[in-house]
Symmetry: C2
Subunit: 350 residues, 2 copies
């Protein structure tokens, strides 16, 4: 004879169909809703047998907790928000980041929500939105700046996040970055090894942290080799393809032009090579180019181009991992990683 449980009253029995809830499972098993809830999350005060029975039934009926219920009650959204500049992306690396994130959160309860903004408007807006509305448990941001206002805001509010790229703020925070300093050094060394001596850098755009990193690696390697830097003025990879090409053509046609270029992006290298060719130079003869690679086609199409791949899928995985750990309250100092051509390197705080 089954017990009479008022809590899971006849409604549950009368309920025709619909996906299983704690209440329907509780009714089926003659248990209280609370018991079922606890059994499913391995709470301590549940008998071993009951726990196993509940878990078995839940699995059999395909129980999945209602996200809205959990979210309303606990405030936990099980959402990670990827904040994206929708003006970015010549080369589609964003999709790789997204794939990386979904790789990492695949077996977790997290969903990925894409929150767009335009960098020509207010970059703070999407961050404030997520924090104020509590629409996610954690945030991933990119285009990180040395004194990033978003990072400061998130730190102040104690909101979990991870950045793609570093800041120069005092407080440690989770991030993943590509070692652009090492990249620039490698690039210079490769060019020097091919006998190049008049080197120019097509750098990342002003404002972003990794510009300084790449510049530093470039300068250091140059001075190690005892070489001067060939300046390109204010040219950066944020310039249009046409502008880069035209400027490089002019540079290449000057009296003593560079014979080696380091480009911070594949699209930049594209434009750069076109500029060289427009000036009558041949890649690999008058000049060599080393570039960061974003689109895979590039490497394949221009074998003379030296390409160093930034693995954005890996970046996505690392970023997702860092946010999830940050949400769980892990020490930020342990959530920092740096990728270089030979793999990822966990960073310990200095």
């Amino acid at each position: 004879m089954g017990r009479r449980l008022r809590q899971v009253a006849e409604e549950a029995a009368a309920a025709p169909e619909g996906r299983p809830t704690l209440k329907s499972i509780a009714f089926m098993m003659g248990l209280g809703v609370t018991t079922v809830s606890r059994a499913l999350k391995d709470a301590p005060e549940i008998g071993e047998e009951t726990r196993r029975r509940v878990q078995m039934v839940a699995r059999q009926v395909g129980y999945r907790p209602n996200r809205a219920g959990v979210r309303l009650r606990t405030g936990k959204t099980n959402v990670i928000s990827l904040i994206l500049d929708t003006e970015d992306d010549m080369t589609g690396f964003v999709s790789d980041i997204i794939y990386g994130i979904t790789d990492r959160i695949a077996e977790s309860p997290y969903h990925l929500v894409v929150t767009p903004y335009s960098r020509r408007r207010d970059p703070m807006e999407p961050v404030r939105y997520v924090v104020e509305t509590g629409s996610a448990d954690g945030i991933i941001i990119s285009r990180t700046e040395p004194a990033d206002k978003r990072v400061r805001y998130l730190l102040e509010h104690g909101f979990p996040f991870a950045t793609h790229g570093r800041t120069e703020l005092d407080a440690a925070h989770p991030f993943h970055d590509f070692d652009n300093q090492a990249f620039a050094r490698m690039a210079v060394e490769a060019l020097v090894a091919r006998g190049r001596s008049r080197l120019a850098l097509l750098p990342p755009p002003p404002g972003l942290t990794y510009r300084a990193h790449m510049r530093a690696g470039f300068s250091a390697a140059l001075s190690d080799a005892g070489l001067p830097e060939y300046p390109l003025g204010d040219l950066s990879i944020d310039a249009s393809i046409d502008e880069i090409r035209d400027r490089i053509r002019a540079v290449a046609a000057s009296r003593s032009p560079p014979d080696g270029y380091v480009s911070a992006s594949g699209a930049g290298a594209f434009a750069l090579v076109a500029g060289l060719e427009a000036a009558g130079q041949v890649l690999g003869r008058e000049a060599d180019v080393v570039s960061k690679q974003s689109t895979k086609l590039l490497r394949w199409f221009r074998p003379e181009l030296r390409l160093v791949e930034e693995d954005f899928r890996l970046a996505g995985r690392e970023l997702a991992n860092a946010v999830m750990k940050a949400i769980d309250g892990a020490d930020p100092a342990g959530l920092q990683s740096l990728a270089n051509p030979s793999g990822v390197m966990p960073l310990t705080p200095c």
Copy 2:
């Protein structure tokens, strides 16, 4: 003298802070929670002045409805799920689709959730997940097949969705597609206009609907011109870059090779051109290539390549629009659109 409302009891007053809720607004204004709720959604039974007062206060205090509350009560998630094959994407067009979707849903209450899967596993799995858990109000899928099981499933369950690409099922459903038939026809006509007469098609992969469309346009244009098709066997753009290159090199080195190619993808064109060059041919001399363009770099880098751009950002906007309308119960027949090089063309059911 303010009225005493038991409903919004002293708790609301005692509540220290936190974001505004219906209850807190109701308390502040001396109104019932229901009244506030109704006033904010322009329900009919609310006095004009009250409505305006409530809306003003809500705006002032920055009220935003709690999504979990709405979702739990109404079942409406305000989420659109983009189902993505994470093995796709040589060229990163996925980010453009995402940007297009976010463009369209920017001023709406919808959020975009990315739901990944691998096409080597079960393509039904993510669709079933969303429908069974009710984790979104609508779905966007791509890689559409003529008798797509996912589409059939969604139709059977009455679940709102839109497909990128068409099916050949009887029931009309929302979709957006690029007119690949028109593209192939244009491509053939352009090649014929340049005096080419031995034309080959590097088609989309078997299984996807748009392969047949492109094939049809290609064949029709050829027979209009009274020309035969130069067959490429089972080669498709799903083959690896290396394989396409090698196969095309062999073809180009044959006795009477094609002098005109139509490629279904930019990456395919990349490989194709490399194959031609490996066989000693020069693009624009021995052969011409017309291709669909996905990455913008391509057009710019190889001016001899004829490129027809598929605007994926537009596709994203159209797809988002179609799902939103479908969620609102619109007639599917009115939610079908076709893009061609000269813009989008709404389709009326035939």
